[in-house]
C-alpha cells in the first residue's frame, strides 16, 4: 500500500490522502500515522481517496475512526487502550456527519463494508473530487 498526500484549496485547505493498494491488518497503521503527521503540520480537513483501493478489511474501518479522533485533537490511542476499547469522537452526535473527514470514490466492495457497519450514515462519501473538496 502507498499513500500520497496532496494539499488542495477549497473554501478551506483540504488534505487529500490518496491510498493505492489493499488495506488490511498489516498496514492500516500507516494510514493513521500519515493523518497524524498531516495534523501536526496543520491539516484539519482530510479527504481519503479510496478509488485505488481494491480491498479493505475492518482494519481500514478502524483506521478511519482513529483518523477522525486525530482530527478532533484527541491523539492516537496508545497500545494499552486496546483494539476494542476505542473511545473518543465525542464531537459527533447521532445523526450528524463528520465535518472534517470525508471519503472519495470507494470501490463497490469497500463501499459495501462501509455501509454494512453504518459508516455511510456518519461519513460523507463523494465520487467527484471537486465536489468533495468544496464540501468542507
Amino acid at each position: 500500500m502507498e499513500i500520497h498526500v496532496d494539499q488542495v484549496q477549497g473554501k478551506v485547505p483540504v488534505t487529500v490522502m490518496r491510498v493505492h493498494g489493499e488495506i488490511d491488518r498489516t498496514n492500516y497503521e500507516a494510514l493513521i500515522e500519515h493523518s497524524q503527521k498531516a495534523y501536526e503540520s496543520g491539516a484539519r480537513n482530510i479527504l481519503l481517496d479510496l478509488s485505488q483501493v481494491p480491498y479493505m478489511s475492518s482494519a481500514g474501518l478502524v483506521a478511519m475512526q482513529r483518523i477522525i479522533r486525530v482530527l478532533n485533537g484527541e491523539g492516537i490511542p496508545t497500545e494499552e487502550d486496546g483494539w476494542s476499547a476505542l473511545r473518543g469522537l465525542d464531537k459527533l452526535r447521532q445523526g450528524e456527519k463528520q465535518p472534517n473527514f470525508k471519503l472519495l470514490s470507494p470501490q463497490p466492495s469497500v463501499y459495501n463494508s462501509l455501509d454494512t457497519v453504518g459508516f455511510t450514515e456518519l461519513i460523507d462519501v463523494y465520487n467527484d473530487e471537486k465536489e468533495a473538496v468544496a464540501s468542507f
Binding site: D24, Y55, S58, V62, D90, T116, V117, L122
Partner: protein, 148 residues
C-alpha cells in the same frame, strides 16, 4: 449431483502470520473463481475469510507461532470455506456484534470483523477439534443455484 459438487477441497496450510493474509485472500479468491463464481460474488467472502483468519492470528494464537488450514468446498448449491487452527477454543458466533446504528463515539470496535464475516455468510459453524483447536466453516447458500 455431479461428482465435482462434492470434490474434496484443495487445502492451504500456512503459518498464522498477518503477512500471510494476502496469500490467504488470493487462495480463497482463486478457488471460488475456479468454481465458476463471478468475482462480485466472491469479494464479501474473501473479506469474511480475512477477518476470521486475522482473528485466529491475533486473538487465537495471540501472534505466537501456529498454523491455519484453509479449504474451499462446494456442497450442492452452497459454498463452504473452512478454517482450522490449533488455537484455544473460540466460537466466532459468541463475539458481540457492534451496534451499527450507534454514534461513532459509543462504538467499541472489537467484533466488527466478525460482524462483517457474519453478514457475508448465511451461517458460521464452529466445532472444537479433537486434540484442540477450532474448525470454523463459513457457509454461503444458493451461490450455485443457477446451474442446479
Amino acid at each position: 449431483m455431479s461428482q465435482s459438487d462434492q470434490a474434496p477441497p484443495t487445502l492451504l496450510t500456512i503459518s498464522a502470520n498477518l503477512k500471510n493474509l494476502a496469500t490467504i485472500r488470493s487462495f480463497v479468491q482463486e478457488q471460488m473463481l475456479a468454481m465458476g463464481l463471478e468475482e462480485e460474488k466472491t469479494s464479501a467472502l474473501v473479506l469474511a475469510t480475512d477477518e476470521l483468519a486475522t482473528n485466529i492470528v491475533i486473538h487465537g494464537y495471540k501472534s505466537q507461532p501456529g498454523m491455519i488450514e484453509i479449504g474451499v468446498k462446494r456442497d450442492g448449491d452452497s459454498l463452504l470455506i473452512i478454517l482450522r487452527d490449533r488455537a484455544p477454543v473460540f466460537d466466532p458466533n459468541t463475539a458481540a456484534s457492534p451496534d451499527t446504528t450507534a454514534p461513532l463515539e459509543k462504538r467499541p470496535l472489537g467484533g466488527m470483523g466478525v460482524f462483517l464475516a457474519k453478514r457475508a455468510s448465511d451461517e458460521i459453524r464452529h466445532r472444537k477439534r479433537r486434540g484442540g483447536g477450532n474448525d470454523v466453516t463459513l457457509i454461503k447458500k444458493g451461490l450455485f443455484a443457477h446451474d442446479a
